[in-house]
Amino acid sequence: MRPFAIFAVTAIAVLSSGCAQRTPLYRWGEYESLVYDMYMRPGKADPTTQIAKLNEDIERANAEGQRVPPGLHAHLGYLYYGQGQLDAAYEQFTIEKTLFPESTVFVDGVLARMKKQ
């Protein structure tokens, strides 16, 4: 059995054992797979590839009326920052803060440091 199948089955068992069926809060897309790849298989997740895949995830989530998971916009912002695309980075960090006010302190700190450069 493939690891994915085992995972999915277990996860369903776990998720559905809460007595009530629940629908996911977020559309996860490639986000966590990219995090895995950037550490374990960096050749598969260079910044350009990550940026393309995450933007695709965002478009799909929007098209399907689903939410983007916490951290994804900030992760994308960080990638843009690394590429020197400061306007795009600023935009993504700002979206993160708008969607998740819990990130305000961190995002404001990042934006302040970006402005100094």
């Binding site: 690891p3 994915f4 996860a11 369903i12 007595c19 629940r22 998971p69 900030a74 960080y78 990130s103």
Partner: protein, 217 residues
Amino acid sequence: MSRISRLLGLAPVLLTAACATMEPHDYTAYREHMPRSILVLPPLNESVDVNASYVWLSTITMPVAERGYYVFPVAVVDAFMKDNGLPGPDEMHSVSLQKLREVFGADAVLYVVIEDWGQKYVVLSSNTVVRARARLVDTATGVEIWQGRADFTESSSSGSSDLLTMVISAALEQIIDSTADATHGVARQANYLMVYDERAGFLPGPRSPSTDAGDSR
């Protein structure tokens, strides 16, 4: 009635009561300091597999976020700390709660120690093992609000094909695990079980739609 038979008689009751009200875990401090946001640091690694920390880190966001918490972007946090002179998990775990709260605005920090990780070969099969201990600490007070374990062993010889007939959920069929790394999938399961454990897992967080935060148990 002998103790054994009394125990056996009780077992089905306990098993079926899992959906109702069982609370062996003390959630008092957790409820008092219900976090909205959780900062996950790369785990300390006591295992011999040098990759364990970062494979684990790539499997924790989904369960915690789906449970109803804001999870800071794990890779960005890691990169940010490395840029600021903290080269690895050991150094990151030594940063004060006060500093973490100041920089990230995190309500709680999830500290994890990986104890065992990887494939173990026994006579006719191999086991893939993930074992870790975890604690969640309130950044404002330093109070430990939860502690638990992420343990899972997958045996190559034991199939769970009966479970395969179960319906596949919408969120999880999105995840296509194309990696040949068995620990990746096992870490996912371990973390799901840790967060969603009926009796000892995380309480539903503020973004959980099903309940008011912390009131479901």
